[in-house]
Symmetry: C2
Subunit: 412 residues, 2 copies
């Protein structure tokens, strides 16, 4: 595949008229006047900006099917009256439908990889592969359903070595998993050299309960179990002490910051600036669409930036360049992804239409990507395959209709 005459960002500057040659699943060359010897597929990049793939570092993708079903509620009634009753009725077909709907949306936002924790991981993996995205998938684990642990191991075995699907291990949280469950999850991840995925210090209540029960914060408690390492993605991390932040940095934990979900659920404002200063590898996640209610990485970037400025009372913290690093390089590091717009990297990228009011004037494109963009992702490529071209995703209408039908069945 050859992308002709596209614009690129290099150290913040906009370079125009470049070509990107993709061979197989990798970017083989970036330069001027390149030729595709195989002449398989040429994409006109004129007036478009190529950016490397974005990563949704924490989500529950099948829950996209619940979008807008329950909002503006306190956490417990939201869970007990709305979400749990619906989850109890979920079928594999619902999961496939919700996952495909979520994939559609992520393709439209230039997301090429996501990190999921939910039920029915085989269906999630199959639907994701069909849609063509890259994913780290963890079947959720908690004490109340001990059979999930053996399912998780089967999933790790079955999907090991897949080119797009990375099976992972997802103990839900310290308040739903016993020490035994947490240790089994950790051992399982080590045994299969897989990522770990957990919710951590999302609410103040979680921290207070942990201190009451363990005499330690959730972060300290997990550290006491030797659970913290660079194979861990810890979602949220809103309520952290200075000691917690030091521990997360020292253990090289990856934090999936979910600013929109945290604000919408009134969880609070995570100390992102302090974490970054301490060297914590912070990346960004949308959380589930049922608590956001979309999967836009651009909203997460802008919300993180502007909320941190106010939280720190300094408009100069979290400049665009740092936000972009969080959204890209930090995520690639967290998941060990060989990604970026460079020769040899995985061909995960998107093209964005620059001929839009929100990219005009072409002053500082990095700033526009963080603060101004309001649409215009035109083409999304994952693993060398174009999943959307010219704003068109084959089969989109059927997926939308199917999701509507599944939702109506589920809530009837």
């Amino acid at each position: 595949m050859l992308i002709k005459d596209v614009s690129l960002l290099q150290s913040g500057a906009l370079l125009k008229g470049r070509d990107i040659l993709i061979e197989g699943s990798r970017i083989s060359k970036i330069g001027r006047d390149l030729k595709d010897e195989n002449k398989e597929e040429t994409i006109d990049g004129h007036g478009k900006l190529a950016i490397p793939g974005l990563v949704n570092s924490h989500t529950h993708l099948a829950m996209t099917l619940f979008r807008g079903y329950a909002d503006d509620m306190a956490l417990m009634p939201w869970l007990t009256e709305k979400i749990w009753p619906l989850e109890a009725k979920l079928t594999p077909e619902d999961i496939r439908s919700g996952v495909k709907l979520g994939c559609l949306e992520m393709i439209r936002f230039g997301i090429t990889c996501y990190n999921d924790m939910y039920y029915f991981m085989d269906e999630t993996a199959a639907a994701t592969k069909e849609m063509g995205l890259r994913a780290f998938l963890s079947g959720v684990l908690f004490d109340a359903r001990p059979e999930l642990m053996s399912e998780a191991e089967a999933f790790l075995k079955d999907w090991s070595g897949d080119d797009l699907i990375h099976p992972a291990v997802g103990p839900h949280a310290i308040y739903t998993c016993s020490e035994e469950t947490l240790l089994s999850a950790r051992d399982l991840a080590e045994k299969y050299d897989a990522m770990l995925h957990i919710h951590l210090s999302e609410t103040n209540d979680e921290v207070e309960e942990s201190i009451k029960k363990h005499g330690m914060s959730p972060v300290e408690y997990l550290d006491s179990l030797r659970f913290l390492s660079n194979r861990l993605v810890a979602a949220h991390c809103v309520w952290l002490s200075e000691k917690d932040i030091t521990l997360l940095a020292r253990r090289r934990v990856n934090v999936a910051h979910c600013p929109v979900s945290n604000l919408k659920l009134a969880a609070g404002i995570a100390p992102v600036v302090s974490m970054l200063k301490a060297g914590v590898n912070v990346c960004l996640g949308a959380d589930g669409a049922s608590s956001n209610n979309n999967l836009s990485p651009f909203e997460e970037m802008k919300t993180m930036a502007i909320v941190q400025k106010t939280a720190c009372r300094r408009p100069d913290v979290m400049p665009a360049k740092e936000v972009w690093k969080v959204a890209t390089e930090n995520a690639y590091k967290a998941f060990g992804l060989d990604m970026g717009l460079r020769e040899g990297a995985l061909a995960d990228l998107s093209l964005i239409d620059l001929k839009k009011p929100w990219f005009t004037p072409e002053t500082n494109i990095l700033s526009h990507l963080i603060y101004s963009i309001a649409g215009g992702v035109d083409t999304t490529i994952v693993n060398g395959r174009a999943l959307m071209r010219g704003g068109v995703i084959p089969g989109e209408e059927e997926i939308l209709e199917k999701a509507q039908a599944q939702f109506e069945r589920l809530t009837s």
Copy 2:
């Protein structure tokens, strides 16, 4: 003009298959199987949602030309090193170009009316009228340039009675305008029965200075000058005492809340929930694109909602229905606009494509408009005239190119 087979929201429910007949500048009928006797123009509304026009209640539209020129800076260096030197070089042609760029963007977001404060109001009015939007326009007033007052009066006379342009009076703020300037501005607005537009209590510094200088908060000070009334739109109102809130409610002042700008400039979080509870008429503004950096009303709605939830530590405050009222009815009330999707109202509306992942499933469309929408405004109609159809705005490319050229000239 006849819009056929469109969806509408009525008391939160989605009604499908409705027709909207527009005659002249008004909606003349909403119903089923309507016919346009004049057969002038028919728009296919199938799969689309009609919403009433949105209002950008506080902006500096020509500054759209400065988008991304200076970000992530503290207020004073931002103004003195970046914005003021550029403003000193502005020509009427720059203004026309910046205003048209801003109008393009607002048309793409379904905004049909905006409230502006800036320089060169004749050019702003002419460019806005050419683009077809409705606007309340105030030439900014401050002590350092006393000649602006007579220009403001000439503008009020010249544009009085226009069907789209409402001239207004815009003293900048209490810290740039003497008592004399404020009183003259108030008298001018009363003489011409025009709206007043001011920046108020945006930063904590402004409040502290006012208390030091006047022994009163900015709101109390303006009240002591009999400046507060329902002809006033006060932008920001971030730092308010309980007494201030009571005064704003009692004097029926309209507050233009600008959540994204307030966060990005680290001004703070306005007490919106308290204001609404006290009966203050709060509406939404984007502020200038140079401190946002776009003009999306959907971003303002979502940001207001989720930030207020966290500020109040309650996910159930600012539900979607209340957010929508702030964005629509409150704005119509502030500006005395006879707007809404009903027979007899001004034909200011937009059509939004529902066949998008972020509107699926069709659970609660009002929730999707606040929390999930990420594009898809397809058609925007102002005063009975379609400014965008099928996502196409005639002349858009030339306006984008012209804005780029003007920006390059300005910064060369």
